[in-house]
Symmetry: C2
Subunit: 255 residues, 2 copies
DNA sequence: CGGACTTTGCACGGTTCCGTACAGCAACGT
DNA sequence: ACGTTGCTGTACGGAACCGTGCAAAGTCCG
């Protein structure tokens, strides 16, 4: 943390990646040594603070980020100030997938939603070159994009069919999956943005989840207490993309 | 319609495509002669009736469909009976994009939403083989998938931020873009499914749109009257994916 | 023409969620 | 200690929307 200073707009100062550093990103660890070798020379470690912008909607994508720590919120915005979360990405994926799908611009704002966010970053051209060289690398990256797309679909269904309480249960699960501990650092205000509701609705919904002993809410934090109960509440808007991820990327689930 | 009989479950009887037949699918027409040549030998003409299932959620994708006429609704379903529309695909795209993204199963139900639907169908293996041979073909198909993903993102935002009336304006526009006439054949019940609301809410919203002279609603039909007014209502949940489509697939908009 | 069926219009009370406002409480710097 | 700031709890009336049920109108078919 001494030499890695994070700046505004997510233009974090980067350090070269040390070859012996352990990998936290599950896409990278799932790659064959050959495929990883295509990427490794270009990877550099960057760090982000809460709220840092990783990509901005409409901007050209000049680099991609494989998250190692932290969670990125993928936000779509209306012309007014309001922004809504359409998905979450953590160490199970990467940021910049439109590149692999033939677009050089990001349709979304992507911002860091956790403290001490870290990612391995590489230039867009290097990624495209690597993808052109290795069909298996391309496949892995595309599969992640596909799973993310499925997640977005469930977000649509969830927001159409479910109450705030149920939708909140789902987001907590999505968050929980991507975080190391049972402790989720998020204020009601941040929940409000994700769910697209009023702040006090968040308060109420959290209380109801607390009454059912699914979580424990303390200041600026949510402690996950009963994952099973959360899953029951979220219903089948949670689970499908997660199963697809395991099936397509041949990995074990973290928990 | 004499020899092409549509069956239940979308297993329409197919006829070989005649080489001199004009193409209606905008993805196919945008392909280079070489790329189209990779697909042409495998294309066969199939037709669908309203409600025919083109792909079913969870099933293996054994063929892809380039729509020539009609509109397909992409539906995500909860375990109960309720299904919600996450997007629409017409002659500007194709059905079966998860294949190109490395999944051989469809996460969605896709059903024909217009009468006299027609598509050029080809086997999944043939498509995958063609895509492996031609990077430009792959790029075109991926770009469509990407634009569809952007459309889904806007669906999330629209359902979070907008009233039924505004969301309806958006769906009418999406439908209108993909249909040849200003006449949209759809009952309130079908709207209900797309929007995830109660049937009489559809009635009310249509009345409001009618009062503003944006549309004219008659039995089982909506006549688009003032597209500009619809776009004003839909706000910026309409337009972005459409612009992206033009930008990425280098085509003129139909209207 | 008459009956069956589909589609649409409308009304009722009830619930969820909104916008807004304000007060209590925790964290923090000085 | 004190004020400042950020986070949370709570309350109020109002709007949007729901589930339901039923009647009217259009369409189809014999």
């Amino acid at each position: 943390m001494s030499t890695i200073v994070s700046l505004a707009r997510g233009a974090a100062v980067a350090t070269p990646r040390r070859d012996d550093a352990p990998l936290g990103n599950r896409l990278l660890t799932s790659l064959s040594p050959e495929d990883f070798g295509l990427l490794a020379p270009h990877l550099e470690l960057v760090s982000f603070a809460v709220g840092d912008c990783i990509t901005r909607a409409g901007d050209p994508i000049d680099s991609v980020c494989f998250l190692e720590q932290g969670i990125a919120g993928v936000l779509d915005s209306l012309d007014d100030d309001r922004r809504y979360a359409v998905g979450l990405v953590g160490a199970e994926g990467f940021i910049g997938w439109p590149l692999v799908m033939g677009d050089d611009r990001s349709p979304y704002d992507v911002t860091m939603r956790a403290e001490r966010g870290q990612a391995l970053r590489m230039p867009a051209e290097a990624l495209l070159a690597a993808v052109d060289q290795s069909p298996t690398l391309r496949l892995t990256l595309l599969r992640f994009a596909h799973v993310f797309m499925v997640q977005m679909g469930r977000t649509v269904v969830s927001s159409l069919a479910h109450s705030i309480e149920r939708r909140m249960a789902r987001w907590i699960l999505l968050y929980h999956d991507r975080v190391q501990a049972d402790e989720i650092c998020m204020t009601h205000e941040e929940f409000r943005l994700m769910l697209g509701v009023r702040r006090s609705s968040v308060t109420d919904a959290l209380h109801r989840l607390e009454e059912e002993h699914a979580i424990r809410a303390v200041r600026a934090k949510v402690l996950v207490h009963d994952r099973t109960k959360l899953m029951a509440l979220a219903g089948d808007t949670y689970g499908q993309p997660e199963q697809d991820y395991v099936r397509l990327l041949q990995m074990d689930r973290r928990r």
